[in-house]
Amino acid sequence: MKAMIWKELRECGTWAVLAGAVWCIFNYFGYHTMFSTEDVIRDPLRIWEGKIILNVVLGAVAGGMLGVIQILPELRRDQWAFLLHRPASATTLFAGKAIAGILMLIAIISISEAFGYYLLRFHLKLEIVSFWYLAVAVSIGILAGAVFYFSAVIAALRPAKVFGSRLLSLITALAIVVVLFLQPSFWQVLLCTVLCLIGLVLAAQSCFEAKGEYRRMKTVGRVALGSTLLAGGSIFGMGVIAFLSALVPRGFVATYFDSHNLEPYSGSYYRSDYYNLYDQFMDSQYYSYSVAYDLGRNVSMQMLKNTREVRAETRTAVVTKPAYRQYGRYIKRKEEDDIFSYYDTVGKRIVFYSMENRRIIGYSGPNGYYDVNHIPADGSAQFSGELLSDAGGNYLCFTDAVFQVDSSGRQIKRLIDGEADQPFQNVVPVNVGKIQRFWVVKSNAIEQYDAEGKRLLSVPLGPEERDGQYIGAVSVDADKHFLWFGRITKTWPGVHHLDSKCAEVTGTGKVLSRFEIDFGEQEGDIVVPFNMMFAGVVWPMLRNDTHLLSQQNWVVIDQLYGVFYRASDIVVSINTLIAAICLSVMSAWLFARRARLKLSLCCLWMGLTLLFGAVALIGLLALYPWPGHLACGQCKKLRDIENEECPHCHVPWPRPQRDGTEIISRDFQSHALASGGQE
C-alpha cells in the first residue's frame, strides 16, 4: 500500500500544491475585500465566520477535485486493468488512493491556512484572539473536503450520464456539508461527519472494487451506495419542489394583526390573501402561521413570529447558545471612537479591540474593566456560566447571574444571582408599561424580578411544564399575569399538535387558575422530507387544510401545496392521490421484477416508493440495470440473456451452429518437450 500512496502523491501532488497556491491568492483577495467593506471595518468579527465558510468551500472544491483527478484518468479499460490486476486486494489499492487523497487535502488546506494566518497577523495586523477558531476553521475545511472527496470518487466511478444520476452523490455531499455547518456544537459536527463518512467510504470502496457496476458490488456497499444516491435524489427532489412551490401560489390565509385597532391580547383578522413563498421570503412581514388566543376573553392566543407590530407583551423563551461558528456575540458596537467591543463566548469576557492599532487593549469581567496587561488573578477575569442573551444590549444574562452593562461596556453591575443548582434557562426583559422587569425561567420555576434584582414572584413549575419548548408570559398589569406553556408534539411527521397549558398568576406568584387551550393541529414549518417529495402525493387528511373563517378567526394554515388546499379540492386530490400511489407502487413492483430482484427486495422497494415517491423509483431504475432480453428461438417470447433457461419454454440457449469446418481437438496432451534427452 505504501507504493500506492507514493504513486498517488507523485501523480497528483503537484496539482494539490498548485491548488493550495491558487487558494492562497483567493484568500488574499478575499480578506482584502472583507476588510474593505464597511461592515467589516466596523466589525472584524465577521471575518471568523467568513473564514469558516471560506474553508468549507475550499475544502469541498479541493476534495471534489482530488477525488475526480485520482479516478478519471484511470478509467480507460486497459488502464484500469493495469491498476487492478496486481496481487493486492482492491481494498488495499483503494485505501492507498484514499490516504493519499486525504493527505493532499490536508496539505492544500494547511497551505492556505498558513498563508491566511500570515495575512491576518502580519499583513492586516489583526490580533489573533483565539487559536481555537483557527483550528476549527482548518478542521471544518478538512471534514467538508473528505465528504466531497468520497462523493466525487463515487461520482467519477459510476457509469451514468453526467447530468443524470452521476451528480447525486455530490448533492448528498452538499447536503451533508450544509448540515454539518449548521450544527451548533463542534462535537456534533464531528459526529455528523464521521457517521456520514462511514457510509460514503463504504460506498466508494465498493464502487471502486466493482468499477462502478452496481451488480458486482457487495451487499454492504450496495446499501451504502443506495442510501447515498437516494439521499441525493431526495434532496434534489426537495430542492426542485421547494423551488417550484415557492413560485406556485399557495392558498394560505394570512392573518394580519391590525396594530391600530389593537386591544391588548385580542386578535382581529380581516384579510386573507394568497402569497407564495418567495414573496414571504422577501417580505417577512407575513407570518407563516399565527394563532391568536385572547386570554382576556379566552378565545385564542397570539403566538406570532417575527412580530414587529404587536405590542402585546409576549416573549418566547427558548434557550439558544451561540453556535461554534460564532466567535462572539455582539454586545455593543461603538461607532464614535475607535474601540470595538464584543463578547467573547470562549474567553467569557467582553473584549475591547482597538481598530486603529488592531489589537486588544482590555477586557471586562464580572468586576468591570481591566487592562490587557493587568489581568486579575482572583477569578474575576471571566464570567462564569453560559451567556443566554444580551437582552437588548444593556444586560448580560448568564445561566448563573444577570449583569447590567453600561453604555461603554466597562461598568458591570451584578443584578440577579442565580443558585448553583438551579441555573437560569432564559432571562427575558419586559416592560410593563414603562417599568422594567425580568422574567427568569429556571427549570423548576418561573420568576419575575425588578430592575434592581429583587424577586417579585416565583411560580413553581409542575412536572409537565418543565421541558416546555415555548413559554410565554403575558402581563396584563402588575398584578395579573398569564403564563403560557406550549409544547409541540408531532402526531404525524408534518403535522404538529400544540400542547398548551395556561396559568393565571397574581402579582405575588400565586396561581389562580390553570386551563388548557386547544389550538388544533397545525402544519409545522419544519420541512419534512417526504412531504416535499412528490407534489400532490401527500395525504390531505393528515394536514389541517381548512378551517372555516369566522369573525374571530384565526387559524392560519400554511399550505405548502396550495393546489390541494381548498376544501372542494379534497375530493379531487384524494382520487389523484390514490391513483398516484397505486401507479408508483405498481411501477416499483414491475421494475423490481424486471430486474429479477428477490421478492423481499421487491417489497422493500415498494415500501420505499410509498414513502419517497418518484425518487425511489428513480433510484430503483438507476441502481438495477435491466438485463437484456432477446427472443427465444423456440417459443419466440423475450427471454433474459443471463438465464440459462427460458422462463417460458425452459429450453437452454442454443449452442452455436456447426457447419463441419470446426477443428476441435478433444484432448490435449499435457505438454512436455519431446523426450529423448535432447536438452
Binding site: R77, P87, W653, I663, H671
Partner: protein, 323 residues
C-alpha cells in the same frame, strides 16, 4: 496440478443485444504456448478480460489456475501476468521507478529478469515512460510482466504497433519464458508469422464462436486447398462438408476445404475434373480462407459477374466426422 490452466464453460458475453462471445468452451493446457486467433472484433480481448475478472460474463463461467475468474484473489493475480494491448504505464514514472513500483506489490520479483529485458530493449532507466516509443514501452511492460515469473502469461495483442525488431525481441522473451515446463503463455495475435513460430496450440474465434482449438500442425493439416481443372464449363458444386471457399475461373475451380477426408475426395472426383491437384497452403492463407467470407467467388470479367452464392453447407449431424 491439473492439466489445464484455463477452462471455460459456456462463457458468454453480450454487449447490448449483440453476442460477442458465444458459449465458449476453451481449455488451455499447462506448459503450452497458446495462440488465440480471430478477426478484429471477434471477441478475443473480451474473453481475456472475462478470464481476468475485469468484465462480468453474461452467462457461463471460467476458471483460471483453479480459481473462479470472477473472484480472483490476490494470490492468483500474483501468478498471472497480463499484458494488455496498448501497453499502459504511468507516463510520469521513469523506467526505474516503474520497476520499483511494480516490485513492491509482488512477493516474488526477479530483478535480473527485469534488468535483462530492459537492457535488451535498450531502455534508459531514467527515461520517463511517457517519452518512450511504442516498442520501448512494450519492452517496459514486458519486463514488468515477466519479472514476477508468473506461471501464466496472458498477452493481448502484444505485438500491436511494434516494429520488427521489437517484435522479434518479444518472441524471444516468450520462448525464454518456456524454459520452465510449467509456464504457460496465452497470447492473441494477428501476425500469423509470429504464431507460426511460437505457438503449440491455436484457438480460432469467429465472431464470438470457437471454431478451432487444436495443435497448430493439426490446423495446417486440416485445411487444404485443391485445384480442379475442367474442359469447358465448370460444373455446379455439390454440397461438400467442410467447404470453406471456392474460387471459379475459366475452366478451373479452386476449393479450400476443412477436415478433408475420403468422402470429400470422392465428391470432388465425382465432378470428373481433367486435373486434380493439391495446392500447398501457408498458414496465413489457410487462416484467411478459414475465417474469410464463406462462399463462391468469381472474378471472371468477360462474363456478367456472378453474385457470390452461398454454398450449400451440410449441417453435420454425425459426430464421427469430428476428430
Amino acid at each position: 496440478m491439473s492439466d489445464y490452466v484455463i477452462e471455460t464453460h459456456g462463457l458468454t458475453r453480450y454487449y447490448g443485444g449483440k453476442c460477442v462471445v458465444d458459449t465458449l468452451d476453451l481449455k488451455v493446457p499447462r506448459g503450452s504456448i497458446f495462440g488465440f486467433l480471430g478477426r478484429n472484433g471477434a471477441g478475443k480481448s473480451t474473453t481475456i478480460r472475462m478470464l481476468l475478472g475485469l468484465v462480468e460474463p453474461t452467462r457461463g463461467s471460467a476458471t483460471i489456475l483453479g480459481h473462479d475468474c470472477q473472484n480472483l484473489p490476490p494470490v492468483a493475480r500474483e501468478r498471472i501476468g497480463y499484458l494488455a494491448e496498448g501497453h499502459h504505464v504511468y507516463g510520469w514514472m521513469t523506467v526505474g521507478e516503474c520497476g520499483r513500483f511494480q516490485s513492491s506489490f509482488y512477493k516474488h520479483w526477479n530483478q535480473s529478469i527485469f534488468d535483462g529485458v530492459v537492457d535488451h530493449f535498450n531502455l534508459d532507466r531514467k527515461a520517463k515512460a511517457g517519452d518512450l516509443s511504442r516498442g520501448q514501452r512494450a519492452g517496459l511492460c514486458l519486463a514488468m510482466t515477466m519479472a514476477p515469473e508468473p506461471e501464466l502469461l496472458i498477452l493481448d495483442d502484444p505485438a500491436l504497433g511494434l516494429d520488427p525488431v521489437a517484435r522479434r525481441s518479444l518472441l524471444q522473451s516468450m520462448i525464454y519464458v518456456t524454459r520452465r515446463s510449467d509456464r504457460t503463455i496465452l497470447f492473441s495475435s494477428h501476425l500469423l508469422a509470429e504464431v507460426e513460430r511460437v505457438a503449440d496450440y491455436v484457438a480460432v474465434l469467429d465472431y464470438g464462436v470457437l471454431r478451432a482449438s487444436c495443435p497448430l500442425e493439426m490446423f495446417r493439416e486440416r485445411v487444404r486447398q485443391f485445384s480442379l481443372r475442367f474442359d469447358g464449363v465448370t460444373p455446379q458444386l455439390p454440397g461438400i462438408p467442410g467447404l470453406l471457399q471456392a474460387f471459379r475461373a475459366a475452366g478451373e475451380i479452386s476449393l479450400t476445404i476443412a477436415n478433408y477426408d475420403a468422402r470429400s475426395e470422392e465428391l470432388l472426383r465425382s465432378l470428373q475434373p481433367v486435373a486434380f491437384e493439391e495446392v500447398p497452403l501457408s498458414l496465413e492463407d489457410a487462416f484467411i480462407s478459414y475465417l474469410g467470407e464463406r462462399g463462391e467467388k468469381s472474378f471472371f470479367l468477360d462474363q456478367a459477374p456472378e453474385k457470390p452464392e452461398a454454398l450449400e453447407t451440410v449441417a453435420v449431424v454425425d459426430e464421427e466426422k469430428l476428430p
